[in-house]
Symmetry: C2
Subunit: 306 residues, 2 copies
Amino acid sequence: MNEIKIFSPATVANVSCGFDVLGFCLDSVGDEMVIRKTDKKGIHITKIEGFDLPYEPELNVAGVSALAMYEAIDVDFGFEIEIYKNIKPGSGIGSSAASAVGSVFGMNELLGKPFNKTQLTAFAIKGEALASKCEHADNLAPALFGGFTLVKSLTPLEILEIPSPNELYVTIIHPQIEIKTSEARAILPKEVPLQDAIAQWANLGSLVHALHTSDYNLIQNSLHDVIVEPYRSTLIPHYNEVKKAALKAGALGTGISGSGPSIFSLSKGLEAANSVKEAIEKVYSRTNILFDMHVSKINVEGVKIL
Amino acid sequence: MNEIKIFSPATVANVSCGFDVLGFCLDSVGDEMVIRKTDKKGIHITKIEGFDLPYEPELNVAGVSALAMYEAIDVDFGFEIEIYKNIKPGSGIGSSAASAVGSVFGMNELLGKPFNKTQLTAFAIKGEALASKCEHADNLAPALFGGFTLVKSLTPLEILEIPSPNELYVTIIHPQIEIKTSEARAILPKEVPLQDAIAQWANLGSLVHALHTSDYNLIQNSLHDVIVEPYRSTLIPHYNEVKKAALKAGALGTGISGSGPSIFSLSKGLEAANSVKEAIEKVYSRTNILFDMHVSKINVEGVKIL
């Protein structure tokens, strides 16, 4: 096998109470990439469609993660990467993670899978760091492993696969506005009230338990974020209206996807997820902000060969 | 049935990363109580052995929780309570919780179980509040439900039963010193660094996952407390030495039981738990502080009829 085409999925990081540790993977939204072995040594990005991104590997997220893996192997050939980008950079649903994951997943397949998924995450972190200026894995992990993941720690890298209940669907709205990651970060307090932290970890512990037991009521009761949402939601126009409409339409919970501006809602069943989509559409249609929407099952497989 | 004898177990609250929400139940340490229906209406404490505690129901933890339940029922008889106290008050292994739970559990049995365990917890909270000056359920819940419990919230009262891996054993040392609950509380900061809070909830999420999957390595990697232990451990003489010795002897993790002074260590298997006991004994034998030690399986049943 000298060439493969892969699907690298969008992901939702943070997931309300799981700030900085939890994430899940989408099914219907993602990039496509072609990875090809070439006689010419090194990493070469040969095509980029969808968005205007740099071709220099060391300036491109997919290129940086590919280079990180390439440095760890000893081969007399190189790789070409074609990127068909569907996930808009800066949308808050793991655009850079999809790029970072896609190249290393594809290369690993062509090499005969010398690396496990945690090792692939470690390479991909280097690419993610180019985009977000810090090393984190909360989008990379669900993109690689699929389903829900908990990044227990970065050093050493420990990723846990949390079960994903069958009927869980997600509705995403991506308002076409820009939130600078630096601003989303700067708005967070350095210290938080101990009582709020306790409420947050009670909810995260409960959510992990609820995912293990497929307890949708408990998922609903756990999807609260008392730490980050009060700050970051102020950066997203009409956030509270969207959340109110989504919950009224039957969503189990609604929160900020990554650092925004996308907003995710989890629902039990496709029908509910579609009702939530309609309810949110109504809210945003009354504004003059352009937006995209997606409804997706949770993708338990993660990045895959097409 | 007019009279029953019950065993009301000791419990460990907080469990390192689960501060204020997590707890588990002991098997080999606990109080015994006799609950008896009487023609005389009201709650009457007729015998207390082991420790010097008040007989007036409204001044006695078991009495206060019994009164809370008694007010919620309409019967033309009363209850007598005999308390055979084995758990020393103030030891940090749920002495007041055992008393508070025992009376309402026993009364509920004699009444034909009109109340579920969450409702019993709500009555017992009133008794616990007498002892600890605040309403909390992190010892009550494991005493009533057995195994590991997560108190997701107090209002409304939501208690989750987390699976307990079969081979999990606990070693407890109770140094015979007094730590005032007020002091243990005052020493905690009102605010904590966001990064520490994230580390704590990553560990708690991981611990819940590890308990569900019986992953002892992950239990070991999750039993860390970056928030409370650095403060409260300073109140317990030789805490760091005990912890170091326990971990060296094979404990999966060591932490403060409740607000101390007791220290718990979790181990895989009875043999390991006994080795941990020996190692800790060596440390404390070199001091002039009296101490008790217990080794126990996790008690998945909780309070029970003898």
